[in-house]
Symmetry: C2
């Protein structure tokens, strides 16, 4: 507890935009997020009062950071599982715990567990040699999708393999470099969906509406909430799936389940156990933001209302454009002048082409109109004139 306020101290490992936005939610709850950042330029380090510096792969730094925290949680999945376990063994409340978090860190472990749970997953296989991938491709049909078990995000760590020759080259190269791999069938998806739930130590689970996530080059560019045209029974099935997974994996905090929608039904793509890009729309678009909900979950507060605040909510990521042209401050002026109703969230990042530097959210009665506004606003912030 913070003796000045009588309220808990949540420590978040990682100082990126998720910690930055979690800090905003913490302030409302009377708290001040403690952040473990790498550098003073990290998005959360720029804005939080209680910032410690250290590497998330350094157990001593993690131990020092955890001192005085009521609970430790994460802005990313890159803390070594053994370190998470060591913290818990030392008596630090860590949420999600190592045994849960592992399923968001290691795709092979996740696929094995989901298969055992009879959750819908693509056909897949662990990979220890190129011939296994060739045999798998022959069985399920080319192309197939090769994935690094650990460390991938935003399209990194994923390689589509068109044919046996490409497969052999790519697999040999990656295995030689020490990358652990799995291979999956390419699912005939019609679109991607995501569903977020938050679960408390008490076991209360709150599910957000199912959203559509629009990807480009492996990066999420838009999120449409609620997912347009999704039949009610399929939406409920997706929420039920996420609730079941959160419970089976003993997740505490947020769980984002990324889904492929296929003609045959839903298939689980990825899991994330933290605030997630697919939930940024909740800041204005849901009665309780994912950031507040994550804090409530890890602190074992009762969960907040997950209902929508408008019939249609669209989030568009702002990606860094090419250098030159108008400054971000000028772009902001123009964007605000064009559309006074757009809500903007900038992460304090240096602009690099393709990097997520912020997002915008638009609420409305009509999804197409809200989407057009969000896309236009995000483009203004990216490219200026």
């Amino acid at each position: 507890m913070d003796s000045r306020t009588g309220l808990p101290v949540v420590g978040m490992v990682g100082g990126g935009q998720l910690a930055r936005m979690t800090h905003q939610a913490a302030i409302a709850l009377g708290q001040s997020l403690r952040v473990l950042a790498l550098t003073p330029d990290d998005g959360a380090a720029l804005v939080a009062a209680d910032v410690r510096y250290g590497d998330h792969t350094d157990l001593a730094a993690l131990r020092a950071f955890a001192e005085g925290c009521d609970v430790v949680t994460f802005d990313h999945e890159h803390v070594p599982t053994g370190h998470v376990r060591a913290l818990a063994e030392a008596g630090v409340p860590v949420h999600p715990a190592a045994d849960a978090l592992l399923h968001a860190q290691d795709k092979r472990v996740m696929r094995e567990r989901l298969t055992a749970l009879a959750a819908p997953v693509p056909r897949w296989r662990p990979v220890t040699a190129a011939d296994e991938v060739r045999a798998f491709g022959a069985e399920v049909g080319w192309p197939v999708v090769l994935k690094a078990s650990r460390g991938g995000y935003d399209g990194r760590g994923v390689w589509p393999l068109a044919d046996p020759t490409t497969a052999t080259e790519q697999v040999d190269r990656l295995l030689a470099g020490g990358t652990e791999l799995i291979v999956e069938e390419r699912v005939p998806l019609t679109r991607e969906l995501a569903v977020q739930v938050a679960r408390s130590p008490f076991g209360q689970v709150a599910a957000y509406p199912v959203v559509e996530t629009v990807q480009r080059d492996g990066i999420c560019v838009e999120v449409l909430a609620p997912a347009p045209g999704l039949p009610e029974d399929r939406a409920v099935a997706a929420q039920q799936l996420a609730i079941d997974l959160a419970t089976a994996l003993d997740v505490v905090g947020l769980l984002a389940v990324e889904l492929f929608e296929t003609p045959a039904g839903l298939v689980v793509n990825e899991l994330a156990m933290r605030p997630h890009n697919s939930g940024h729309w909740t800041i204005e678009g849901a009665r309780t933001s994912q950031f507040e909900q994550h804090l409530r979950a890890v602190l074992d507060y009762p969960m907040g209302d997950t209902g929508l605040t408008a019939p249609a909510v669209v989030m568009a990521n702002v990606l860094g454009g090419e250098p030159g042209g108008m400054s971000i401050d000028e772009r902001l002026h123009h964007m605000f002048a064009e559309d006074p109703g757009v809500k903007v969230h900038l992460y304090g990042k240096q602009v690099r082409p393709g990097r997520k530097i912020g997002h915008v959210t638009v609420l409305g009665d009509d999804l197409d109109k809200a989407r057009a506004r969000a896309v236009r606003a995000a483009r203004w912030l990216r490219e200026g004139a």
Copy 2:
């Protein structure tokens, strides 16, 4: 500009809850509010990254604080007018400027100016001796209301005077202590209203919906948005009055106009030039919060959409209760369990009886239901079991 982000640095003098909530809004805009606080326990100092310490009555401290700020603004009205003017003369962009701010600092100046502008005000008189008050009471009828020209808030600095005898005692005592005074008729009000506008240096003005403010013992306890049962023409007249005053007084930033509604029409009670308790409902209840709007105004960004996000929005202040009983953290658990849809804002303050330690906001379709929920939640947070 912050060289790390390419975005402006706003300095706010004063480290209370208004600066705390403005910091939350600054984060979304890619900024980090710079705060001049008195102590590390100030609500904003607990949560902001860039906190300087110094007294707002110390010109040297103000000058040092302003160094590197793109604009300086205020969390309260207590900076001496001469200091505000000195900063501006030294080239610091200060919003609102001294000549505008004076009308929120000095009730006599405000009443003189509003009278000159033919704005609706109570009958009033400057006070230099008790016999002036007795004569005023004989003219307008007893009771009358004595006010300190400077420094009053939350019911302080306001003394109802029942009769000539009380008047003489009170006025003599206050004048002997050096308090500058005015006296006003007691307006036959049916309720209190408030309207907020934001104005940019460019001159753009955006008006929020008119709200009803419910006072108890001189302290605002609830705000109802929009003001229930207010005829459209009267609402428009109130907004127009606030727009006219902001323009006439050359206000930059937020202007809150506190109004008495009387059988004969609207009468101006007070002015505030900063985010205001009557606008806390805008965090969730308006498309653009007053805190974001204030930043946009002082930075000369185009103003944001002031529209309501729900048909009925109710804010209730959380006042500190008697010591003992459940901790604030336990109260929060119970309140969240009872009503998952309440939004809470705690200010990081030590609890003292009657002190504003936070507020709650409830949105809904029905004002009475939303109000009952907000009042119940605020009571939970105040008193526990």
